[in-house]
Amino acid sequence: MTIVEISTGRRHTIEISSVESHEFKFLGKNRYFFDWNIEKNQEVYKLCMTESSDILGLISLERIPSEWRIHIRLLTVSTENKGNEKKYDKIAGNLIAHAAKIAVAEFGEFACVSLRPKSQIAQHYIDKYDMSVTGMTLSIEVPEILNLINYYDHG
């Protein structure tokens, strides 16, 4: 899995791993939009470049086995990677693909990842990640979820 440095087009390999409890105090609003301490008891993952401890993106997940679903609670890239001036591309995509991998590993052909973004940004997720709409919820299932995983695994 890689992210792309916008200025050079260079790809950097990344690792996604669980946030350690001592790290939450460094994940404040200034760089990561939320105070991630509130998610301390949730399943939270960080994205870093290989051999770097600098966190470029975060995702918090809720497993809902009764519905074969992983729900994304919070998602963010670090502040320098937002908008048109971002330094690296594909951070959020890799984090969503990570959630998708957990869903497929847990639920196989029933796998689903859901997200409930504000309506202004919903179209972005529909266009970019092939998500579908049900009421206020966006979701991705088989077969699109498998394509998403492969895209970010090979990217």
Binding site: R69, L74, T76, K82, I121, H124, V142
Partner: protein, 177 residues
Amino acid sequence: MDRKKNIIRVEDAEYGVDSRYKSNKERESDASALLEKRLIKMGYLPKNQIIRAKLMQLKFKMDDYLKEPVYDGQNYFSKFLETYIDTIYSKRSGFAKDIDITPVRLSQVINNHREPKDEFIMKLMIHSERVYTNVCEFHKKTWFQVYFHEKICDTMSRQEEWLPKIGKHVKISESMV
């Protein structure tokens, strides 16, 4: 002003997405509508996509298994093999035929009555490399890794059983200093 606000939001669509449910009512109403729609979609899911999903699930389970030692005495190699075969074939004898072994031999490996030979794992390696071409990335060494990982974990977890007996037959007769 509102329009400008909206433009900024869309540009920052991946910065600070709060998707938490605000109430149980919200969660329940979303869940039932979503599940209903998904069940309809699943009903039309082609068989090849179901197989693709199951094979990807198997790959992730094998990858997870290899991440750390597991000392629970279960036979992971044969369990994964059984899932692999049953995902693709309607009858296990079909797989046996495809890798040129007898159904009896295959059954013995799956049921842990016989250890798989190197040649068996090599055939399995070739078979799965071909099968996974249209599914996802699958490293050809995975089956061997699973097999030896299980061997190592099993041996280490049973040290109390074998160490006293085997240890009696081990000595170092050469001076090391």
